[in-house]
């Protein structure tokens, strides 16, 4: 009878040890999983290189162009989808100033169809 009691006692101890052991295993597994979840989140903070080209909207270009072309009476500028098209007349020495002013308005492109007088 006593022998059976001890056998039962040790069996219970053994099972308890097993349960504790398996719990420890679980807790260490959870820690690993948490670390693995954090790592990719860190990667998302990597800086994206600034390569965006800012193009002005047509409304904005149409509002700014009269000020830019005011001193060039022979020049007409039209806007379509960010593209400025120049027609009319200009003297060659004045062309750079006009182009500098228009290039600063952030157009997509400038088509220079001006007739240039020397």
């Amino acid at each position: 009878m006593k022998k059976n009691f001890f056998a039962g006692y040790f069996l219970a101890l053994g099972m308890l040890a097993l349960i504790i052991g398996s719990c420890k295993g679980k807790s260490s597994q959870t820690t690993t999983t948490d670390t693995a979840t954090v790592a990719p989140a860190d990667n998302t903070t990597t800086k994206i290189p600034d390569t965006t080209v800012v193009i002005s909207a047509d409304d904005s270009l149409k509002r700014m162009i009269p000020d830019a072309t005011k001193d060039f009476p022979g020049v007409t500028a039209s806007v379509d989808q960010g593209v400025i098209t120049l027609t009319g007349n200009i003297s060659r020495d004045r062309l750079p100033k006009l182009m500098m002013a228009l290039n600063a308005l952030h157009p997509k492109k400038i088509n220079n169809n001006l007739t240039i007088n020397k």
Partner: protein
């Protein structure tokens, strides 16, 4: 990449001239070069190079935006072609003219109203808005 080759001399000149915030990007067959400088001569030189590579700016494959306008609180030179620069009541050519600054006159930049217009003060006390493209850091 072809446009970077075509305008290599311009990009190299901008880099060696120490253009601030220099950005060179190619998108839909147009090269975009942006930056700023406190030296108007550097800007003029880059435009001369542009004009040499693409005579009369006919190709439509480059947008060169070099800001050489004077910083707020500093002196600027009026760099019109030859005429006087209109000083206006507000930022816009539809605004009343309140005075004129002479070609090559030195004025003080008080603030910038927007990308196109600056509020300035002349040495004789006239104050108003002028088109920023005609101001160069003095």
């Amino acid at each position: 990449m072809a446009l970077r080759d075509k305008y290599k001399e311009l990009i190299d000149a901008a880099t060696s001239a120490g253009i601030s915030d220099l950005k060179v990007r190619e998108q839909d067959n147009v090269l975009y070069v942006d930056g700023s400088t406190s030296d108007g001569k550097v800007k003029d030189n880059l435009w001369n190079i542009y004009n040499q590579i693409d005579p009369d700016f006919r190709a439509g494959d480059l947008i060169l935006n070099i800001d050489a306008s004077a910083a707020v609180g500093t002196k600027a030179k009026v760099t019109t072609q030859s005429s006087n620069l209109n000083i206006r009541k507000g930022p816009g050519t539809d605004q009343q003219i309140v005075g004129k600054a002479a070609h090559n006159e030195i004025v003080t930049v008080v603030s910038k109203a927007n990308e196109q217009w600056s509020l300035i003060r002349t040495d004789d006390g006239k104050e108003g808005y002028v088109y920023t493209q005609y101001l160069t850091q003095a």
